[in-house]
């Protein structure tokens, strides 16, 4: 029976050969360091003389539920990697959700002229890229110009820019085609990074970066559990204090329960998302702290205003009054809260008093006026929503059971985004359910993308076509840049018009972030302008 042994040998040799042929062999995992390099070897900077005395040598471990990096280019990056990029790269400004205003980052001050069509930013002095090159106005100009030229990801945020000049090393001057709040644009979560264009072509393989932020890439192992590690950039302009984390690791953990176990064991420090059951546990588990923050992302039911039964505004108004908003918020157990209008709290244009209310009696009257109801005609409506999203599923179930009482049958179809969007562009449904969030902290994004008329259809999936609304939307950027109070008023008026008068949309809830951290971590602030981003530089380890 020698063939048994032969089979075994063949199997082992085959398996080894198959994988050996895949790699050149002899590479070191993580790839950026030779095997002999000590872990604490400084990165791009050579000067380590000012190392703090009592440093926190623990790594802060973040457990994301998806792979971290798909695109290392700061110009085109438009995905999950923002959780790393925001710590490696910096923008001119950074949005503060508490004050609702952009704050200094690489720029220390700025001003606008010519009715919001000219912007001048003063740059921080003595800032260095990780490459060692200084961050100058010329470098910033080159970076933004490259991002604009590549026209990928969120590069559209710079669309208003006509010309960038660098009159001196510390001054950056923008001339715009039309007025826009450029200080907000510059705080965007994507495509606003200032980077070193002389090294940016080398960032693709994740061994180096072109940023100026507090952290720089240590190792990147695509597809591995600990996909990415970052290390402190010793020459960071903000300096380093004892207690701050100088090492960061991203440990990809798709299963929520696994993430929770790891957090309880102290093996990871931050879990990006917990379900309501686990979040409730987190609140009462020693060694764990839980935080809940409303996001800038809300769910919208976009009604087909152009064709089908919802063409009748009375039917749309009825639908707005059918949904049990408070019941839904309770059923979501903290994963979402009732909003007010289209603009989430923390953004300019948030308007209190627009909270939706359930009113079944009025809904029945409105439907009856359109000849629908229990004793009248049956109404059949089609709805599409995101497959695999438990919160949307819950909303659809609630809506459907309420509608049934009014003799309205809801045909709800869960779909993957690309299929749902394709159907929406062909105006193939009565109700289109989707989340929306702004790329930079400006509510303009909802209005220009979702409610301004556009042909062919892109995101205006309620197919609303109203000249007065379009005109008001087009005036918003200039108002925001020049007269915030007037902009605020215009946003309030527009929301009333779109929600109450046109009834083009219902907003069931604003999503809430439910995070959990290990108890010893101090200084965590959840900034909804930068979804899922943890500013590791702001954190310290207690004790």
């Amino acid at each position: 029976m020698r063939w048994h042994k032969r089979l075994l040998t063949a199997g082992v040799v085959g398996a080894v050969a198959m994988t050996a042929s895949a790699c050149a062999g002899g590479q070191v995992r993580g790839a950026s360091q030779p095997p002999s390099a000590p872990a604490t070897q400084p990165g791009a900077s050579a000067s380590t003389s000012a190392a703090p005395a009592a440093v926190n040598d623990k790594a802060f471990v973040y457990a994301p539920n998806l792979d971290v990096v798909t695109d290392w280019d700061p110009a085109t990056s438009y995905s999950n990697e923002n959780i790393a990029m925001q710590n490696i790269y910096e923008s001119l400004t950074r949005y503060n959700a508490a004050s609702q205003k952009p704050e200094p980052r690489l720029a220390t001050e700025w001003s606008s002229a010519d009715g919001g069509k000219e912007w001048t930013f003063k740059l921080r002095e003595g800032v260095k890229f990780h490459s060692g090159n200084p961050v100058t106005a010329e470098a910033a100009k080159k970076a933004i110009e490259r991002t604009m030229k590549l026209k990928s990801g969120a590069a559209y945020i710079w669309d208003a820019v006509k010309k960038i000049e660098a009159p001196d090393g510390g001054t950056l001057k923008f001339t715009l085609k039309y007025a826009t709040p450029l200080d907000l644009v510059a705080s965007s979560g994507y495509a606003s990074y200032i980077y070193d264009t002389s090294v940016v072509e080398k960032v693709k393989d994740g061994t180096t970066d072109a940023g100026s932020g507090p952290y720089t890439i240590d190792t990147w192992a695509k597809g591995k559990e600990t996909e990415l590690t970052l290390k402190a950039f010793d020459d960071y302009w903000g300096g380093w204090k004892p207690g701050q984390y100088k090492k960061v690791a991203f440990r990809v953990t798709p299963e929520l329960t696994t993430a929770w176990q790891l957090l309880k064991n102290g093996e990871v420090n931050f879990v990006q998302r917990l379900n309501p059951q686990l979040f409730a546990q987190a609140g009462s588990t020693p060694g764990v702290q839980a935080t809940r923050t409303p996001s800038f992302q809300n769910l919208m039911l976009l009604f087909n205003t152009e064709s089908g039964p919802l063409k009748d505004v009375k039917v749309r108004q009825a639908l707005q009054k059918v949904l049990d908003y408070d019941g839904l918020a309770a059923a979501l157990e903290g994963a979402g809260v009732k909003g007010s209008g289209l603009v989430p709290q923390g953004l300019l244009g948030f308007t209190p008093g627009l909270e939706p209310k359930q009113d079944l009696k009025e809904a029945a009257e409105l439907l009856a006026a359109a000849d629908y109801g229990p004793d009248l005609n049956e109404l059949k409506l089609s709805l599409t929503y995101a497959q695999g999203d438990a919160d949307q599923q819950l909303m659809v179930t609630l809506l459907s059971s309420q509608l049934k009482k009014l003799n309205v049958t809801l045909q709800a179809k869960p779909m993957q985004w690309n299929a749902q969007w394709d159907l929406g562009k062909k105006k193939g449904q009565d109700i289109f359910v989707m989340y929306w969030f702004p790329d930079y902290a400006d509510p303009y994004s909802w209005f220009v993308n979702v409610f301004r008329s556009a042909d062919p259809v892109s995101f205006n999936l309620s197919y609303l076509k109203d000249e007065a609304i379009d005109k008001a939307i087009d005036a918003l950027p200039q108002l925001t840049a020049t007269d915030r109070a007037a902009a605020e008023q215009s946003y309030a008026d527009l929301q009333k018009k779109i929600i109450e008068e046109k009834a083009a949309v219902a907003v069931p809830y604003v999503q809430t972030y439910q995070r959990a951290l290990t108890a010893g971590v101090q200084g965590y602030v959840d900034n909804p302008a930068y979804p899922n981003v943890v500013s590791f530089y702001d954190l310290t380890l207690a004790g």
Partner: protein, 338 residues
Amino acid sequence: MIGYLTRRLGQALLVVAGVVTLTFVIMRLVPGDPAVAYAGPKATPEQLAAASRQFGLDQPLHVQLWNYVRDLVTGDWGTSLRTRQPVREDLFTAFPASLELVGAALILAIVVGIPVGVLAARHKARLPDLGVRLGSMLAVSVPVFWLALTLQTVFASHLGWFPVAGEYDASLDTTSPLTLWTNITIVDALITGNWPIFTSTLDHLVLPALVVAAYPAGVIAQMTRAALIEESGQEHVRLERALGFGETTILTRFALRPALNPVLSLIALVFAYSLVNGFLVEAVFNWPGLGRYAFNAITSADTPGIAGVTLLVAVVYVLVNLVVDLLQGVIDPRVRTR
């Protein structure tokens, strides 16, 4: 023999061609524009058109199929819409980790399954046999996902005997970096003498390997038992009994070897099955293998990624079947003429 070999190879190629065509058709039948998955949920019409052009999605379907097959043959498995890396490279990163897990599980299953099967056959219809039959039945039918979560909660989280998740302690990458030769961590650690990573990987392997091993161990035990019982009815066994050999000696020394033939073909097939069965286990234990890659590809509508995983698993199935067929041909010449 050569005729048999070419016939089998030809059949295997046909199956692969069928899988390729089927995957392609299904990929294109799924509603929705694959370009959206690449260009992002908020892509502008220009970005979508550019992505369509880049992936040849603007071509007629038959041209796309032809391009797809041509690329596959030349070793280009397409670019993942999600990771933006060549699918082949992605698979070569993920596959070794799955191989490691399934390999460890199979070793475990064989080491446990065969002796247990012998035990059951030796004490046929008595308590040990009943126990083994019940145990193997449970092992085969328990849902892997449930078993994985239970073992994780009890042995990792509560008792702290094993790590909760992961392939090995990642901090070892800085203190004792691993040199890669085969991409299979435990093998590389062994051949380069990297003991910290070797022991850490072993420690991390125990729970997920146990879960993946449950099904193969169950079927191997059942098959060994059945084959041994059948073999002990053979004439040579009567002769051995007449010569005065004890029952245990007869089973282990004379009956086991011929009885292992069907068990070996079973092991080969169970290997391919476990690869897919392990997907859920990988998700629970953060194992950086094919399962996690497939999960991510499916949830983000990454059609080239999904097609790549499907094709790889199909090829493994076909290869394993081919090896089994050929081996049977070697052992039993009668098979070749069938």
